[in-house]
Symmetry: none
Subunit: 207 residues, 4 copies
């Protein structure tokens, strides 16, 4: 049993080892430069070994994406716990997403990459699994808003829709970071972001 345990552990370790290499590569050279043989090289493993632990290149990316979403999720959770007022919690969530896009730019990029790509990368099953990680995040936003409604702070007939809109706005604005020096040239991006978040919160606050 000790043997079995150790084996399972080692297997988990190898997976991490591979994901580490993939992440490193992805973050250093961009998604297009991540090749299986590259990963194998970084991980000091044979190419075949990669395929022993992951069915696909796709599956590796999916794992990384889930990692990222989980990280974001935990960041959001932490911030939520430090605030009690729903409006502060919403702002905190937005703040966490912004921080995530800066401090974990690489994870943010990979999540965005697949969300924005015109081509379909993941097979149905895998896609569902990934998206469910996103679901958890949406759920927090929703719960926060519902809690605000129950507390009589927020007022909104369609809290579910509003949550999605909230998240969509954050997402879209973070996407615009690229335009900082051109379209948004006279505008501080973070200011714009915070302004928007406030606007959204005001929009559901009881007056």
């Amino acid at each position: 049993m000790g043997t079995q345990e150790r084996k399972a552990l080692e297997k988990q370790l190898r997976r991490s080892q591979i994901l580490d290499a993939a992440r490193l590569l992805l973050f250093s050279s961009g998604i297009d430069s991540v090749s299986i043989s590259g990963i194998a090289g970084k991980a000091e493993l044979g190419v075949g070994t990669i395929y022993f632990y992951f069915k696909n290149k796709e599956e590796i990316f999916a794992a990384l994406q889930e990692e990222g979403l989980d990280l974001l999720y935990s960041k959001i959770c932490k911030i939520i716990q430090n605030e009690t007022a729903p409006e502060k919690q919403l702002a905190g969530i937005a703040n966490a997403y912004y921080q995530f896009s800066e401090e974990n730019k690489n994870y943010f990029d990979i999540i965005n990459y697949f969300l924005s790509s015109p081509t379909v990368f993941f097979e149905q099953e895998l896609k569902q699994q990934i998206d469910m990680s996103g679901h958890k995040i949406l759920k927090i936003i929703q719960d926060t808003i519902l809690s605000g409604i129950h507390q009589g702070i927020f007022e909104e007939d369609a809290p579910g829709r509003f949550s999605m809109m909230f998240w969509g706005t954050l997402h879209g604005l973070l996407h615009f970071k690229k335009l900082e020096n051109t379209v948004l040239e006279n505008e501080n991006h973070l200011d714009l972001y915070e302004y928007s978040v406030n606007k959204l919160i005001e929009a559901i606050q009881c007056r």
Copy 2:
């Protein structure tokens, strides 16, 4: 000078010829299937000739992207002209962007292609040129809002910021189309979009 003019004209003609081929290919087979030799074939030119008129494959894409932005711009203009009420105009703009993302998916894709790419494709000059096309669109939104304010219909201290937020929300929500069957499973995407647009308009309407 007649000669010079003719030369310039011919050069412009060749460029169009190449872009026509590239566009045809892009629309018939998607962004991944556009290859230089494919373009050369369609344009009935040699591969090398393409490189005489465009430095890069990316430069061709950039030109197409501008086309797309121009098309979106003209669509928005048309809609604006058919409405006089600023709130209807804003809704119309949002509507136009949604339509564009569906009816001109290829252009929408190519625009996103560059916006999402973590690597910088273009030299500064080229990038600015493209982004300015986006600027024009943002300008319309801004003007519409300003006009609404002047008419006493809208109320907003930071019309510029609100315009960006408006556009960012649209943009982010359009990206969520991919999540239709998973995260958004119980939600009609267009309904969500329209709900959000209304919410935004309400947010700046005088009460």
Copy 3:
């Protein structure tokens, strides 16, 4: 000794188990899709275990080939027993081979696989063993012809040679099935086959 016997038996059992898996795979997906790990999976054994019972992938194929030859042999025997007239028996053998090539295409393919390969797969010993299975079949043909000669129905100075020619013709014609739609476009393949068999039988019949 009981132990030894049991061991030998078990070893034989495992071999069958592996061959069963290999056969299943061969028949369900064709010769190119048979992989050792596939066999191991189907047989619910480890990959290494396969290599304990068979030196090679080729050795597995060889075993299957023998199976095929044995099957063909038994088919021929059955047909021979139902006919008494040598000329009918010969026709029956030919018929059996044709049927075999259609109904047991997978066995037919694997037999040809080794016969057509320009490289030598097997060590001498193995090769001989396989070819002897073919020998048995040739023997039946020969016996049939000899019997016909003894009965005064056939007339032939070189019955051994004729047998080989007989079999060679069948074999060659079965290969021509591939040409059905091109070279043989105006010809029904089975008709051609039967025509040829008759021609051969006529050639040794006493007139």
Copy 4:
């Protein structure tokens, strides 16, 4: 025009160069060891260059096969011209095929390889083109037989079928060369071949 001619010639030369390399490799290492990069190496060309002259690996093999069939065809023609008696011509054709299988074993092997392989290698169009080369050979056999019939030397109701049977027999017997040391151990292969050819010729000769 001199330039154009030279260019066309050079293009033809490159094709030959590639086919030479492919043939060399095919003949030295067997069909499974022929890789595009191997061919490129032998031909001292870049991998991409191969694909400039041939669409496919398939197309290269097809070209080699046609080469072989053409060579066989010309051998047969030569022999036919040296004989006037149809029965000698038939024997000559058989002889030519045997010689071909020995002197041009490599070409013979490749033709056989594709004829015997259970999997389909060539797409419809390509297959037709190849098979038509085989058609030419069948045609000669047929013409020879028809000529013999007209001369009152041969007697046969189905000359077309007989031609195919004739060729099929040759083909099958040549295939059996592999069995020389096992199944055919007491038999000289060439003797068997000649015996069979005679038997076939006798079978259509008027008595």
